[in-house]
Structure formats: structure tokens, C-alpha cells
Subunit: 446 residues, 2 copies
């Protein structure tokens, strides 16, 4: 993309309404614009990152066999009366009437709707196990929306639902979700720690939240420092193997790690003092197993092998897709702006032309642009007639991991400069080698 043809309204002033750094930088970098309280438009740069995150979530869900679908945003109130949640769900649920006076609502979650779908079509144990998910906009009418996309009212979420024949099978689905979530977050450059959590209005005994440590996190968390040494990495876990998934669950949840809601001081004190940590965390996902409550109320029953009708064991599992942008920025930035992890960066590298209009510089930038594009990479070429300082400021703020700087002086020596956004280190290389280096980095070979 050439910046002269892009829509990237980088702000010079610091937005006053932003209390935390991710909110401030998303506004300054021209990623989002507030439409109403807690409701945002995603400008091209923000949308590009949102879509990358969404795609990682899709890929990792499908890798473990979960099936993508899409439920609507608007639901019937009647459905929620069947589950009993129409009254119990608080004023965060946006309720209204359609033109015929029917009670409707903007879905904050989809347990009722997905259970009704499975109840309608699944009749036999042979059609199980089944995990369906969707990535859809939700609405929660927060009293005081704040922190930008971190606590917005309209937000994008992946919510998935498993349907199983037994508690044992449903707990395997629970473990399988943990396995896929660990990989999902790591691909985004995040360490998200599973912590025992409170089940809230969804209900159920088994639930873990995934928290990213960050000073601005809304939850206080307590954990054994050994947990931060764990990485999932590139393991090839057989997700149909109950014990393989259980082993991952055990490895990642056997050490103490809880949010303030479930914190137990006595248990925490059993952790050696040198390893006890308290910090703040941002919730980026949650998994639940809640048994047969919804399937009984909404009639999701199947015949088992003996012909008996039994209600399905269910769980629901969420990833806060739009909120992840905020969490990633909270975890990865400096005082100049965002530093995108390579897995989610909107463009693979920036190209800064120090002297727009100079024949050699323009030509070298065009060649770099073509060469990178031909390799399937997406560069953002700052081809504006602007001072070098303004161009560097934009690149630093929007946080592309790599920048290639092109100027007449370097070109006379046959080199351009490749700079890491994270370390600030630069290296002079011939243009072809600069391209080869960027390509290798994204192939994971550097």
C-alpha cells in the first residue's frame, strides 16, 4: 500500500479522553474513531489488524476441528425466556421491540440460540462430538464504557459451544479448547495465562480465564512465577487424544494462578515466597463447562447407544477478538507508539523514502515495493512529500516491526537501512539483501 493512497489519519495531539495507552495509541495511529460511547468505527489500519486476529482465531479453531458458522446479532426475547435468562440477565442486555411489538435483544452471548439449533437437528449419539463456533459482534450495554475497545459496548467475540455425550467427553472438549487457545494467543505474540475463574451469569463449575499481564489490566491476579516460564510453542498435540489434552491442561493449570474473584490466600501461601507474584491482568478469553443445564431447558437430547434419551453436556468458550487489539498494545508498546508482534502486524514492513522526488530514491523504493510484494509480503510505502521526521514518527506510532529507510546518500553506497521497531537497531544492507532479510523473518527463519 502506498500511503498517498491510504486513509491513515495519524493524530498529532494526544486524545484527552483516553485513560490507557492502548486506547490513546489506537486513536493516535488512526485505527479507530469513536462513533458513540463504547462504540467504534474501525478505520482501515485498525480493521486490518482486527481481520488478522480474526483469521488467526479461525485458523486455530478449525485446526482442532471446530466448525465455523454465524448466528445473527438480533435474537428473540422468547428464546431467553425458555432458559430463564431473560429476567436474570442484567441491564447490560440491550432489549427492544421490533415494529410488531415483539421482544427482541442484541445478543450478548449465544448459548440459547446454539442449543436450539442443535436441539432441532441432532438426534443421535453418532452425530457427536460437535463443537460449533462463530465470530460475531455482540452488544453489552455497559454503564460506563471506557478504555476504548477494551471495554466497549459493541465488540467482536469468538464464542464456541461444545456438545458431548458425557461429562468426560465435554471435559475433553474443555481441555481441547485450552490447547487451541494457548496456541492462538502465542501466535499473536501474547502470553495468556489460564487462571481459575468465577463463572458469573453463564453458570458452571469448571471455568478458566486467560489473562495477559499488563499494568493497566482490570483484574488483580495472583500466580506462581513458574507459570510465566511455560510456552506452548509448536507442539503437535493430537486433539482427539483425551490424555494428551489433559496433560497440557495439567501442565498449564497445576500451578497457582487466580484472579481476585477466586483468590485463596491460604493456598497462595503454599507457593514458595520467592515465586509468589501479584500483578494486573487483562482477560482475553474464557472457557466453561456447564453440563446439561441449557440442553435440558431447550431440549437438546439425543439417543445414546442403548436408545436412551439423554441431554447433552455443553460448554461455552470465548475469545475477545476486538479486545485483543487493546491487550496486544498494552503488552507491546513504547513511548513512541505501538510495536506489533509479527503475527498480527497490519503491514509486514514500512518503506520510508527520505527524499521523495529524488530519482534514485523513488526508483529504489519502487523496486523494494515490487520485490516485497512479489514475495507475498505487504509493505506500507510512505511516498508522501513529508519531512523524514514526520515519516519516522508515523512509522513508530503505527508500529510496523520493520522499516526500510531509503535515501540518496545510502544509495550512493549501494545500501538502504533496515531498522527493528522493537530494538531500534539498524543495519545497512544492499536493497536485495534487505528484501531477503524481511522475507526470511516472516518465514520464521530469522
Amino acid at each position: 500500500m502506498r500511503l498517498s493512497r491510504y486513509f491513515l489519519p495519524v493524530l498529532k495531539e494526544t486524545p484527552r479522553e483516553a485513560q490507557i495507552v492502548s486506547h490513546r495509541y489506537m486513536l493516535q495511529a488512526g485505527m479507530i474513531k469513536q462513533a458513540s460511547a463504547g462504540i467504534y468505527s474501525w478505520l482501515p489500519l485498525g480493521f486490518k489488524v482486527l481481520r488478522k486476529i480474526e483469521n488467526i482465531v479461525h485458523e486455530e479453531q478449525q485446526r482442532v476441528g471446530h466448525l465455523p458458522m454465524l448466528m445473527p446479532t438480533i435474537q428473540s426475547g422468547d428464546l431467553w425466556k425458555q432458559s430463564g435468562r431473560h429476567n436474570s440477565y442484567g441491564p447490560e442486555m440491550l432489549r427492544f421491540q421490533d415494529r410488531h411489538g415483539r421482544e427482541m435483544l442484541y445478543g450478548p452471548t449465544n448459548e440459547e440460540m446454539i442449543t436450539e439449533i442443535v436441539a432441532a437437528y441432532v438426534n443421535s449419539y453418532r452425530e457427536l462430538p460437535l463443537t460449533l463456533y462463530h465470530i460475531q459482534w455482540k452488544f453489552r450495554d455497559e454503564v460506563r464504557p471506557r478504555f476504548g475497545v477494551m471495554r466497549g459496548r459493541e465488540f467482536l467475540m469468538k464464542d464456541g459451544y461444545n456438545f458431548d455425550l458425557s461429562k468426560e467427553a465435554a471435559l475433553h472438549a474443555y481441555n481441547r479448547h485450552l490447547v487451541s487457545y494457548l496456541r492462538t494467543y502465542e501466535r499473536m505474540g501474547l502470553q495468556a495465562i489460564p487462571m481459575r475463574a468465577d463463572s458469573g451469569p453463564i453458570g458452571g463449575d469448571y471455568t478458566h480465564e486467560f489473562l495477559v499481564l499488563a499494568e493497566t489490566g482490570e483484574s488483580e491476579v495472583f500466580y506462581d512465577s513458574e507459570i510465566t516460564d511455560l510456552t506452548f510453542g509448536d507442539r503437535d498435540v493430537d486433539v482427539d487424544d483425551y490424555s494428551a489434552c489433559q496433560a497440557v491442561m495439567d501442565e498449564f493449570t497445576s500451578r497457582y494462578a487466580r484472579t481476585d474473584e477466586t483468590h485463596d490466600e491460604t493456598l497462595f501461601n503454599e507457593v514458595p515466597e520467592s515465586r509468589r507474584r501479584s500483578a494486573r491482568g487483562i482477560e482475553v478469553g474464557q472457557i466453561f463447562y456447564f453440563g446439561t443445564e441449557y440442553s435440558e431447558k431447550l431440549g437438546a437430547v439425543v439417543q445414546d447407544e442403548t436408545g436412551q434419551k439423554i441431554p447433552l453436556h455443553m460448554g461455552s468458550h470465548g475469545i475477545g477478538v476486538s479486545r485483543l487489539l487493546g491487550a496486544i498494545i498494552e503488552a507491546s508498546h513504547d513511548d513512541k507508539g505501538i510495536i506489533w508482534p509479527q503475527g498480527v502486524t497490519p503491514f509486514h514492513c514500512g518503506i520510508v523514502n527520505l527524499k521523495q522526488g529524488d530519482e534514485a530514491a523513488d526508483g529504489a523504493c519502487e523496486s523494494l515495493y515490487s520485490a516485497l510484494t512479489a514475495l507475498g509480503l505487504e509493505p506500507l510505502y510512505d511516498d508522501r512529500d513529508e519531512r523524514a521526521g514526520a515519516k519516522f514518527g508515523t512509522m513508530d506510532m503505527i508500529g510496523l516491526p520493520w522499516r526500510i529507510t531509503v535515501g540518496p546518500r545510502g544509495l550512493k553506497n549501494g545500501v538502504v537501512e533496515v531498522t527493528s521497531r522493537r530494538t531500534g537497531e539498524s543495519e545497512e544492507l544492499p536493497p536485495e539483501e534487505a528484501v531477503a532479510k524481511i522475507a526470511k523473518i516472516y518465514e520464521g527463519k530469522l
Copy 2:
């Protein structure tokens, strides 16, 4: 995908509520399920096609330089008061109050919101031309939603907005949209004819609708039969070239083609009688140029080269993404089910194992599955323990363009059968050649 692990609830009975074939087949093929009147859940097969169509729209928009972004579904009523449409828009607009009593609405379109965004950030002629678009769910509270996704209440739409310095530049953007739309629809296997249309509540003098001819279309259309001989094909139009785009516009709109709303009997009678046609059509898109109305009301003004402040010339351009599934099925089906055009098919081919459990048949199917997958193709393998008739019935209903049938008898002769869904013609080929044939078809070489 293996059917034993998929969620494909193909219905045996004909759904009584469906009045048109696309609605009936989408229900029968397990693509959608009604959630409330005019509101649908997209089951995995339906979602897969929806996503393919969405991706084609994204690719073709970006090919001509339009920038993707995403505006929220919920809008503030205040914004619509500024444009004057809060009162004038009918009861199809879903209005409600949030918990603080603020007037909100579920966006049926986004002229106000996008104009406010551009007004906030764009100040100079140097930042133009600019065309922003998004693909987002809309809500129109139809009195009598019907015809499935063809006239639903919650529907997915691409809506794009151009901002230009002059009427001439904005009419070029109008023409550029026509160019990109022609290519978009053809990639989906559709012939969509641009017809002079009525501008309705959006306003403006210049507008064309794109209509797909189908017996079940909601509009009566009148056209010169020569128009159906036109194809856009694989032309490489320079979309920055005003006259190149104007030439395409002239070619595709100079012959008589109007909907009943704008039909002019006198003009129509000037078409030679043998070429006069009347038929029914499904609207799948519309383009508008409407000048400076919104930019004046919402303050989208820039400084031109002389320092003068001038309001921007705008247009808006829509493609009915979810409705396109219905339109494609209306245009491409037979009495056994859907026939997907190759550009939008959910799976590239089906594999039917005539004797599940037979060692040779199972092995051959697995090899075909691996070979196709290794080539980047997505087969759907019917590995269920079902009769051949049921498997054929499912494949015919869901409409994959190609089927490979594998049975012990054929395998003894070293062959499998490759069948075209559209023609019904079959060919016996060794498995490797069957794979090569399917691959060549999707490379566009057969």
C-alpha cells in the same frame, strides 16, 4: 472435510414455509436456519459460501483501490438528525433507547457515519480521491420478511462511499464502481445487468441497479436482448483512467434496460421488436452519485488548490452480500438441488465412497482426499455408512460442481468416476487423473 465430522443437517422433507426455490434449498441443504422472522443463523455450509462471496467482494473492491474498514452496527440517533433522515426514514429503521435513554438505531446504511468520519479527518484536496467501504450486517425491519435471505431483516451488505473534489471525479468513481461490480458478479457466475433505477430514500440523480434475471425476481425488468450478450471477462481496465471507465459504462448502459420503476414505454418501443424483452430480476447491487447533500449537512469540506473550502462530492455503492446466495441459487439450480458456480462453491468437489468399510474403497478415498488437499483444494468426503442413493442425494442437493465416485467394482478396473453436477455427465478415470482433472478445472485450464 469428512462428512462424519461436519455439521450438515440435510432435510428430507420440503420446508413448507419456503415460497421460492433458493429459500427451500438453503433450508434443505442445511445452509441456514431461521432464528426469528427474517433473521437467520448461517450453518457451516451456508457460512462457507457467505464467506467466499464476501472474499470475492473484498478482493474486487481492493483491486480498484477502495479501502476496507468497518463501521459498527449500532448508530446514534443524533447523527441521523443532522442529516434529517431520523424522521424521514420509515419504520424499517429499527430504533431503540440504550440504558441511559439515548436514542440509538441499528444502521440500515451508513452515509451519515462515513461522512462524519471523513469530515473529522480530511481537510485538503491532497487527501482525495478517497473511497472507503465496509461489509457489515444491516437491519431493516421489513413488515413481511420473506424469501429467506432474499428479503431478510438482518442482512450482510457491502456499502462503499466515494469522496471526491468535483462532480467529474465523483462520476469517475461511479463508473469505477460499475467496472468493479461487473467483474465481481461474473466471478460468482452471475450475469448482473446494470439498469437505470430509482434513487429512493438515498436521493440523487445518477443511479443504476444491478439485476440478475430469474423467474422469481421481485422486479419486473425491460431490456434490449443485446445486453445479455455482453460480458466483462478478464479485461484489464486502468481504473485511474477516466475515459477507460467511461467506455465500460457506455458499453454496458447504452442499451435499454430498466426496472418497472423507471420503465419508459415510448423509449422501449424504439428498440427493434425482436430484441424487446420483459422478464423478472433480482436486485443484487446499486450505485449512486448524489453530490454534496450529505457533505454539506455533516461538514465534509476541504480546501481546494486555491484555498477555497468546498463540500465533497459523494456517492454510495452497495452489494447485497447475503442476498447474493439466494440470487445465485435462483439462477443456478435444478430439481435435485443447488448447482454452485465454481467461484463460490463451498467445497471444490465431493468424494462419494460407495462401500464404506471396504478396504480398497476406503483406501482410494483417503488417497484422493490427501491428493486433492495437498493441491490446495477442499474436498468434502462422504465417509458415512449410508446407502449410495442417500449419498448421491446429499451431493446433488448441496450442489458441489464435481463429484468423484469410488466403488470396489470400478477400482478393480483401476478407475473412479468423475461427474459434473451441471451436466450430469460422467467419465471413468484412474484416480490420479481424476485429481489432475479437478485441479485443472479450478486453475481455469479446463
